[in-house]
Symmetry: C2
Subunit: 125 residues, 2 copies
């Protein structure tokens, strides 16, 4: 008969890295900076597209662009510690974040982040 220990069922789940307080600060700063940059980029692109509107179809192209980017942002920027290595891996792969911004994270996390970034790059190749 197996009798799992109480700690085994509690957070953090098995194989999930523990984030120290200082790591959480680094993570939050890097996450917010990447999100801010991406939103700035969308703001610039929306202004550019709007300026070039000359026919009704351009309006609905802009609407479609905004809807897609909003959904993408919602999907991509999920601030959960259980997801962060994937989130940062994707941002690294998309060159929306540089490793320098992750300085202060432990090597186990950096390894997971790099590994996911590499996987995405290979997957896209």
């Amino acid at each position: 008969m197996t009798c799992p220990s109480a700690t085994q069922d509690r957070y953090p789940y098995q194989n999930e890295p523990i984030w120290s307080r200082s790591e959480k600060t680094v993570a939050r700063t890097a996450f917010d900076a990447a999100l801010k940059r991406e939103l700035q980029e969308i703001m610039q692109e929306a202004k550019r597209m709007a300026n070039q509107i000359s026919r009704p179809a351009d309006l609905w192209d802009l609407e479609h662009y905004l809807t897609q980017r909003r959904k993408e942002i919602d999907r991509k920027y999920e601030y959960k510690y259980s997801q962060l290595t994937h989130v940062f891996g994707r941002l690294l792969h998309e060159q929306r974040l540089c490793e320098e911004e992750l300085r202060g994270l432990r090597e186990d996390k950096l390894k997971l982040i790099r590994s996911f970034a590499t996987f995405l790059s290979e997957d896209a190749a």
Copy 2:
């Protein structure tokens, strides 16, 4: 036993006005002109909103505005002869069309159009 005549079941349905060829021309021109004006207005407003984007929430306000207007346009501009008196009545009520543009329609249709415009005005009061 009732035996409806063949013509009764065919288009035009009972009480539905028949549109002559010249009336169809007037209707199409008025319809297209109103739609064009409304789309121009949306294009101007979208450009204005985009120019004023300064924070991410402004992006999603613009997206919401475009989605709402697209749905409204789809709902409002239905070019079916069975619906046209309602369509023109609404455009008249919204002052997106003036009666002058409907010159050439028969009085039975103008009466229906004015009547629907009046109903909407009273309903909104």
